[in-house]
């Protein structure tokens, strides 16, 4: 693991300092959060282990993230009615704030997600489910090695589901929008790559990171009650349409295992 740390250290140095090749530098394994300035004397401090964060690493950080996520509901959820892969795949974007440390301890996220699944049903119609969500998370991170950490996430979300059925022969679809709340817990791992540094005395301290992360967890949802399915036509037509009643397509639950993988930029 030290060798990899060394590789990262050298490669990032060469990108940042053009004169590195002509400068004698004592290369010592150090946490990625700091590195020796090329034009400075070698650091005299004792080599620091990755998990041995120093107080100067601490500090608030902001970040943005983007992820691909997949909700894999239980087998009795009837997700197959709308998804050929038995899952709801979506994308997430949002912002995060780490009040104490960008790589260690508690941080908070606020973001949005959107997913869409379609499937042909009864060889007659296309069923489509779109879910958009506003979600907030609390994340607790612990570094394991200098570039690698683990975290636990707790998420709460409000979800808007749009379910529609469009007949192949018809020229309209029947749809409904339902709201569901969800909570999820997940465990994940992240790979941290420092990409920006700030000079402090003889050292440069990392202050920008890219995180690549993967997590798995479980989510519980209140059901999406698609109980007011109606033909999707404007109500303000002239002449007005004949008054329509709705039909109850039932409830869709998305409880089940979830996966997320993505990247974040913290600064």
């Amino acid at each position: 693991m030290s060798a990899l740390g060394l590789f990262l250290l050298v490669s990032t140095s060469s990108a940042g300092l053009a004169s590195t090749s002509s400068t004698s530098v004592e290369v010592t394994p150090r946490p990625l959060s700091e590195r020796v300035r090329a034009d400075a004397a070698p650091a005299s401090s004792t080599p620091t282990l990755a998990f041995d964060r120093r107080p100067e690493d601490a500090g608030a950080a902001w970040g943005v993230y983007t992820r691909v996520a997949s909700q894999i509901p239980r087998g009795d959820s009837n997700i197959g009615t709308v998804s050929s892969v038995g899952a709801l795949v979506g994308f997430e974007v949002g912002a995060e704030y780490a009040p104490w440390s960008p790589v260690d301890g508690l941080s908070f996220e606020l973001g949005a997600s959107a997913g869409l699944q379609t499937r042909r049903i009864l060889q007659t119609a296309d069923a489509k489910l779109g879910v958009m969500a506003l979600q907030a998370s609390a994340v607790y991170r612990r570094p394991i090695w200098s570039f690698f950490g683990a975290y636990a996430r707790a998420t709460g979300a409000v979800n808007w589901g749009h379910f529609s059925v469009a007949e192949s022969q018809g020229d309209y679809e029947i749809d409904d929008v339902a709201v569901a709340f969800s909570a999820a817990g997940a465990l994940g791992a992240e790979l941290l790559v420092p990409v920006g540094y700030t000079a402090i005395e003889s050292l440069e301290r990392a202050d920008q990171w890219i995180s690549f992360h993967l997590e798995v967890g479980y989510a519980v949802y209140t059901p999406f009650d698609f109980d007011e399915m109606r033909r999707d036509l404007p109500n303000d037509s002239e002449p007005q349409r004949i008054a329509t009643s709705t039909v109850d397509a039932g409830s869709l639950r998305l409880d089940g295992v979830l996966w997320r993988m993505g990247a974040a930029f913290r600064f």
Binding site: N78, A87, Q123, L233, G250
Partner: protein, 519 residues
């Protein structure tokens, strides 16, 4: 890339969990809609569900809790579906309560016929139906008589030379059922053990293929119209249980070349009414004694070609030449025959009929194609009897649009017609995806014509109509959507403001089929 592989495989692994759901893999197969207990009912064979909607557009659904629906029939207050799979059964669903009851069957059957009361169902094999599963050994001379009250299924061996059961007719008192085969009729006692087997073979070996079978009102006779003889075949049923037997009579009319239609008179169970094509006379109508007593046979001769007869409420017989299906061309001849005094009146409609007559009370409506391509002509017929003669009153009506379906409202002697009209300026709402003026942009309208006054009320709907009918005091019109789109209009208030529509009836409970434990 490894996490990506893991991610994709985990998702794809769940395909197997959903791939067997018939809602995904099978085409939509639906029976209905049919009126049951003042509700409009569909049976979704694919997802094994029954869905019904009341006239206030409230929709309910019930799962049959079995798989592989092969046939569905509609009784007065329940729907019965035959199911296959590992445990074949006849599953009944009460309307509107939704109570589900199953009677286990000893074999998988293809077709069902339900008695008018809904108590008995006869299930049979049908070699003509395409099978989704490989055919195992099937005895086509085996039927099941299902008693839905006692919840029993009785195996009955027909033991005939025929291999193709075609139809089942129930007697009005539901003591007997006649199983019609390609060259035989078997009368089975319902709730008893009596069986009367009647091979329909002539002495020279020719087979008589039954084309129409009716029971006498008292169930003592069974009358048959067959392909091989112009005679009415009358089977007198004698005895019960093991002593049950029958006597076959051929009721002939001199000069008859072909038998065209049969009917029975509820008030006169000893006779059968028949209409024949004559050798030299276009039409012969006859009232034949069931026991073959020719001294009681009465016939009348008509100058035009009639092929159907209908017994009206005032015991007059309407004879006409309308076809059985909408769109087929029939004959313009109409005639009336008063059974009390043998009075006859004949006339011709303005043109050939283009569908079955809508008959009720003492009136009938005939639909013709109009001279204009976008209009339909109707003739309202009333059979009235005064002191001296029978009067056939014909009154023409022309409707704008093309008639797609029609039904008679017996409550108030009005005919309800579903008509296709041009959408633009019709009063129908526009479709966003199909602007006005686009070719073939039509919508549906309901026209209600009073048989007495010929007063017409119309209401324009928002889509074309497939079928119309009457449930109690409401008209229903079904539209073309595969999932069941219906508009209800009160007969007392035929306007758009009073109309109510529901779309996608068969989507009801789509998500609950598995999650709710219905399957």
């Amino acid at each position: 890339m490894k996490p990506l592989h893991t991610f994709a495989l985990a998702n794809l692994a769940l395909v197997a969990c959903t791939g067997g759901d018939p809602a995904i893999t099978e085409p939509l197969v639906v029976s209905g809609p049919t009126v049951v207990a003042d509700h409009l009912v569909w049976v979704d064979h694919t997802t094994a569900r029954v869905v019904w909607v009341d006239v206030d557009t409230a929709v309910q659904a019930a799962a049959l809790e079995r798989e592989e629906v092969t046939s569905a029939v509609f009784g007065p207050d329940r729907v019965v579906a035959l199911t296959g799979g590992a445990r074949p059964a006849a599953v009944s669903v009460r309307i509107p309560g939704g109570e589900v009851e199953a009677v286990e069957l000893f074999a998988k059957f293809d077709r069902a016929f339900v008695a008018p009361s809904g108590r008995y169902v006869v299930a049979l094999h049908d070699a003509r139906l395409a099978r989704s599963t490989p055919l195992v050994a099937v005895n086509h001379n085996e039927i099941a008589v299902i008693d839905l009250v006692d919840r029993t299924a009785t195996r009955v061996a027909l033991d005939t030379e025929s291999t193709s059961p075609r139809n089942v007719i129930f007697s009005s008192d539901e003591t007997r059922a006649a199983v019609v085969l390609d060259a035989a009729v078997v009368v089975v006692e319902l709730g008893g053990e009596g069986i009367v087997r009647v091979p329909l073979k002539l002495p020279n070996g020719d087979r008589l293929t039954p084309e129409q079978v009716v029971f006498a009102p008292d169930s003592e006779y069974l009358f048959l119209r067959t392909s091989g003889t112009p005679d009415v075949v009358a089977l007198e049923l004698l005895g019960q249980g093991a002593a049950a037997t029958g006597i076959l009579n051929f009721l002939a009319v001199p000069g008859a070349q072909r038998l065209l239609d049969l009917a029975v008179d509820e008030d006169d169970p000893d006779h059968v009414l028949a209409v024949f094509r004559g050798d030299e006379i276009p039409t012969i109508a006859a009232r034949l004694a069931a026991d073959g007593d020719v001294s009681r046979t009465r016939t009348v001769e008509l100058a035009g070609q009639a092929s159907r007869l209908e017994l009206l409420d005032n015991r007059t017989v309407l004879l006409h030449g309308s076809p059985d299906t909408i769109g087929s061309a029939g004959n313009a001849f109409v005639g009336g025959w008063d059974l009390e005094d043998d009075l006859v009146e004949q006339d011709n409609l303005a043109g050939p009929t283009m569908g079955p007559a809508a008959v009720g009370g003492t009136s009938a409506f005939f639909v013709h194609s109009a001279e204009s391509g976008n209009a339909t002509a109707l003739t309202a017929l009333a059979l009235r009897r005064d002191a001296l003669r029978l009067n056939v009153a014909l009154r023409p009506v022309v409707l704008g649009g093309i008639v797609r379906d029609y039904a008679f409202s017996s409550n108030d002697e009005r005919v309800v017609l579903g008509v296709d009209i041009v959408r633009e300026d019709s009063g129908a709402a526009p479709l966003p995806s199909r602007p006005y003026g686009e070719p073939n942009d039509t919508t549906g309208a309901i026209a209600v014509v009073d048989a007495e006054t010929l007063g017409i009320e119309t209401v324009v709907l928002d889509d074309s109509i497939q079928h119309v009918g009457v449930i109690g005091d409401r008209i229903y019109a079904t539209h073309g959507g595969a999932f069941g789109d219906v508009t209800f209009v009160p007969l007392a208030s035929i306007d758009r403001a009073s109309a109510r529509r529901v779309d996608g009836v068969l989507l009801t409970g789509l998500f609950d089929r598995i999650a709710g434990g219905e399957r």
